[in-house]
Amino acid sequence: MSPIHRAPAGLKLGASLAFLGALAALPARCSLWSLWAVPPLCLLTALAGLEFRGLLKRSALAAPFLLGVASLSLFETHGWKTSLGLLAKAVVSLFTLQILASTTPVSELLRTLRRAHVPEVLCGAIGLLSRYSSLLVDEAQRMRRARAGRTLRGSRWHWWRVLGNSLGVLFVRTVSRAERVQLAMRSRGGA
């Protein structure tokens, strides 16, 4: 546990929001200045004991959207300046967000959101979602493995049909699980 991990979630959230807001408010012609934030962010990463490779790997998920939109702005006059600036801003923001995400657990985040008077319906949904998402993703992967084991050969249409079918089965199982969870919560005096 580094000092960054132990810092209160509200502080981290507020600081990142303020930084990202300032970054967004930066005028377009000086957006390359945002690159000055890279050394402090690297320092933060080192302090938190995070791996650069992991951060980079997870940031690569956003690369298609980033490059796509940045290449679209090439069509404007002085487009390459705009697109370089956009890329710099986006990469710095992504870096900040990655540090925030990997040092703040969901439970801390939820506590902060509740303190900020976010409606309980939404907070409850986020809490249940964070608890059950890994379970459901596991179940989906198990179903996919079983499907691959049973299917010897199939056409493309067959692939689509089986995919839709297994998602439907997943939904039905999800609903019956939710009913059981609801029953269990209520029998223990919950909502």
């Binding site: 929001l17 990202l20 807001g21 970054l23 967004a24 408010a25 377009a28 945002s34 956003a62 959207f65 939109v69 679209l72 702005s73 069509f75 404007e76 956009l86 710099a88 801003k89 986006a90 923001s93 992504l94 967000l97 990655q98 925030l100 995400a101 703040t104 969901v106 985040l109 409606p119 319906v121 939404l122 409850g124 949904a125 986020i126 249940l128 979602l129 964070s130 059950y132 998402s133 993703v137 179940e139 989906a140 689509w160 049909r161 995919l163 839709g164 079918n165 998602l167 439907g168 939904f171 039905v172 999800t174 609903v175 939710a178 009913e179 969870v181 609801q182 919560m185 209520r186 909502a191």
Partner: protein
């Protein structure tokens, strides 16, 4: 479609954040009554289902792949407020845990994939479904709703990008719509197949919330009006800043002499007398114009569809059904 931070200007991000906060707050308010009858767990666990379904990648043209957004599917399964809350929860979790989509751009992302996609998906689904749909019609309308929701979300995303000056609208709009027209086909096929298999396994799940849907048409109209107003309010300053787009289209259509809307034009150029001028006046004029347009469409619908109105009258409908049966 998840917009990362850095692409949206502060004004756009804050504006759409406020709009999304209003929409999500309204959905929470609607759900509070429903929640007292049980079903709080259903929402969270269904949000987890949407999350898991978004993990499914399907191939589209030229080696790229898209993934399910699931807002139309959620709208068909959970109803409009439930779908909105589930999508918001999924987006918040993706943003804070996987850094997918920005924190500062969260409002804009909730607007695109939650408010716009769910509302459009829900309206398309309800309107094409009718009151007592056959299974085939239900599956077909889910597919239609899925495609429309994807396209609508992409259009709204393109609008936000061009409003923040990231890319010009004539380029970003066709690009986004072109890619998402293909992704939307995948979304439509998967949503339809999912609904078909739910219909086979537990059809009563799709009837859920039927008692809530009696007011569905009216609330869909109000949601559409709110959406149109907000788009007008946010897009009007763009027209104010870059009027040459309109005049170019007008010139191409040969409408040069009266290129401006005659009634509202003096307000647009000079501000509303005694109120404000500049951007705020443009926003106000945009809203007033939308309201006028909505009112005239409403009047036209009332005049043109008298029989429809009579049949929804609660006293008259049993007689009509009996006589037709």
């Amino acid at each position: 479609m998840h917009i990362p931070d850095g692409f949206l200007s502060a004004r756009v991000a804050l504006g759409y954040g406020a709009l999304s906060a209003v929409g999500v707050g309204a959905a929470c308010y609607r759900l509070r009554a429903q929640r007292e009858r049980g079903g709080s767990a259903l929402l969270g666990v269904c949000a987890a289902f949407v999350f898991a379904a978004q993990m499914v990648n399907f191939p589209i043209a030229a080696g790229t792949s898209g993934h399910l957004v699931g807002s139309a599917l959620a709208a068909a399964l959970l109803g409009l407020p439930g779908a909105l809350i589930a999508m918001t929860a999924v987006l918040v979790l993706q943003c804070f845990v996987f850094a997918d989509g920005g924190v500062f751009a969260l409002g804009a992302n909730v607007f695109n994939m939650g408010l716009v996609s769910c509302t459009v998906g829900y309206c398309c689904y309800r309107l094409s479904c009718g009151s007592s749909p056959s299974p085939t019609r239900r599956v077909a309308s889910v597919a239609f709703a899925g495609w429309c929701a994807t396209i609508a979300g992409a259009a709204s995303c393109a609008g936000q990008l061009s409003l923040s000056g990231a890319a010009p609208l004539p380029i970003v709009l066709p690009a986004m719509l072109g890619v998402h027209a293909l992704i939307g086909i995948g979304e439509a096929v998967i949503s339809a197949l999912v609904v078909a298999s739910i219909l086979r396994l537990r059809p009563e799940l799709l009837e859920g919330g039927a008692d809530l849907e009696s007011r569905g048409a009216a609330s869909a109209v109000y949601a559409g009006l709110g959406l149109a107003l907000s788009v007008a309010a946010l897009l009007a300053p763009l027209g104010y800043a870059a009027p040459d787009g309109f005049s170019r289209v007008a010139a191409a259509l040969g409408l040069q002499p009266s290129a401006r809307p005659p009634m509202l034009a003096p307000f647009l150029t000079h501000g509303i007398p005694g109120v404000v001028s500049g951007v705020l006046a443009t926003v106000l004029v945009g809203c007033i114009g939308t309201l006028l347009l909505f009112g005239s469409c409403w009047l036209l619908a009332l005049v043109l569809l008298p029989s429809r109105r009579r049949s929804t009258d609660p006293d008259a409908s049993p007689v009509a059904v009996e006589s037709s049966g």
